[in-house]
Amino acid sequence: MEKILVCLKRVVDYNVKIRIKPDETDVVTEGVKMSINPFDEIALEEALRIKESGQANEVIIVSVGPEDCQQQLRTGLAMGADRAILVEHSENTEPLTVAKLLHQIVQQEQPELILLGKQAIDDDCNQTGQMLAELCSYSQATYASKLSVGSNSLEVTREVDQGLETLEIDLPAIVTVDLRLNDPRYVKLPDIMKAKKKSLDVINPNDLKISMDPFFKVISVTAPPPRESGIKLSDAGELFDALKAKGLVD
């Protein structure tokens, strides 16, 4: 195939213990380590492997978000993507709006394969890839843990609640990836230097003529009810007695 498009979201790093703003409007993101959404890194790794095996010519990465997303796009370029596109928008963008913007990019670039993460670990929405697939009228395979490229189709194994499902889907196609698909490579210093020369286009969403008005109003973001910490028991006998007292074993 000619082109693979990979969608990267900038999110709070998965190792950060998040804090909620005192006014309960959002979680604190200022001064917090930000990274590429872990699933998206896996999506990019897969695209690079497909290209390296000679089955694709170009890997393009795209992100929707504030100017700072350039850091994550530069990391993606250092991993090996050929060029990057940033649709710059300072506010949080809902999945349907992101999907509509991506749809415009898909129409411009005409990639045969579009890879996304199965979910963003900040909003945990798990929507964008499927929405984009519907907007494009493309086939989709979500939760991919194995992917093989045929001449005009893909065979994708999906991690579903019942086990592993395998689909064959025609190109152009949209695949959202799960954690077990691959282990992403580490970026090396020379690659970071080289990445500085690669092209990174910044697009204004207004030029794509998509309404950025949200569907939802966020009323509050609050902490979940805490679980009270419990007690330590010394052995199996004590546990048996404690569970029996609660009627949980007999």
């Binding site: 979910q119 900040d122 949200p214 609050t222 404690a242």
Partner: protein
């Protein structure tokens, strides 16, 4: 509010996830819902008619729905949804695969993982692996498209006798770009993780799939389902469908017992709704002890046989 629920089914039976989704309907409206069953087996419609909170079952029998391919179902559902104010699916891999396509076809945003309906247009949902709860409002006159978080709802009773209406496939062109090849699932007699009242779970500490046998014998003694951490699945000790957590299954058993699981936030995201959490770990500082109701610092390979002996 007129609510349409899309049923999930596997192996000729309505999945319990559908029942839990129906219990969310009661928080939205007192009018019940229409339950849409797309499949190739009319026994599904009869089973569906017994669930509470179902007004009518809409049965669309057709072999093209045999494998519930999202891209084939979404245009049909979007058409039917014209007559409803709200469309719901369970937040399982089935519902999460399908609902965003329906929402996009309807040109509305989607709410993933409703955990509570505060008011008919105000919902609570978890974000950041359940470490924060978002309360969101959707404007009047906008159709609600949402998935329901199973751990937040109980199954409904099955003493109903809803009317069954056979619905014709609308005349729209359906895609042929997707072909089902196979599904590999391990047959088990144990309860379904997502509805089990007792779950025992194992982590990396087990070291091999053979060692998981010890956990299976405990599960069988307790009538429990078996779960696992991502590390145990990645290492190949158990299949992927046993993974509990942010990216696995989110569960709410009455009793959850974790053996040799450290308690990473991504794992805890899957068990926070459990009634009683027990953790057995040989490291007294393992983070899982911070949320466990009962913690035991012990070697699981010694502990499980002793506990089995106590259970008699």
């Amino acid at each position: 509010m007129r609510v349409l629920v899309v049923a999930e089914h596997n192996d000729g039976a309505i999945n319990p996830s559908t029942s839990k989704t129906l219990s969310c309907v009661a928080e939205l409206t007192s009018l019940g819902s229409d339950l849409l069953v797309m499949g190739n087996n009319s026994a599904l419609a009869e089973q569906a008619a017994r669930f509470q909170n179902v007004d009518s079952v809409l049965y669309m029998g057709n072999e093209i729905f045999e494998h519930q391919i999202a891209a084939v179902m979404s245009p049909v559902i979007a058409k039917i949804a014209q007559d409803y104010d709200c469309v719901l699916c369970p937040s399982t891999t089935f519902g999460r695969d399908l609902m965003p396509r329906i929402a996009a076809a309807l040109n509305v945003g989607q709410i993933t993982d409703i955990m509570n309906v505060v008011a008919p247009r105000i919902f609570k949902r978890p974000i950041y692996a359940g470490n924060a709860i978002q309360t969101i409002e959707i404007q009047d006159n906008v159709k609600i498209a949402a998935t329901v978080r199973l751990a937040s709802y109980k199954e409904v009773e099955t003493n109903n006798q809803a009317t069954i209406k056979n619905v014709e496939l609308p005349e729209i062109e359906l895609p042929s770009h997707t072909r089902f090849l196979r599904i590999e699932s391990e047959a088990t007699e144990r309860p379904d993780l997502q509805v089990a009242s007792v779950v025992v779970s194992g982590g990396r500490a087990f070291g091999s799939s053979e060692n998981f046998e010890l956990l299976y014998s405990l599960a069988d003694k307790l009538g429990a389902a078996v779960g696992a951490s991502r590390a145990a699945v990645d290492a190949g000790y158990v299949p992927n469908d046993m993974q509990v957590g942010q990216t696995g299954k989110i569960i709410s058993p009455d009793l959850y017992i974790a053996f040799g699981i450290s308690g990473a936030i991504q794992h805890l995201a899957g068990i926070k709704d459990a009634g009683t959490i027990v953790a057995v770990n040989k490291d007294a500082d393992a983070p899982i002890f911070e949320i466990a109701d009962f913690g035991i610092v012990a070697d699981l390979f010694e502990f499980i046989p002793e506990f089995l002996a106590k259970l008699g």
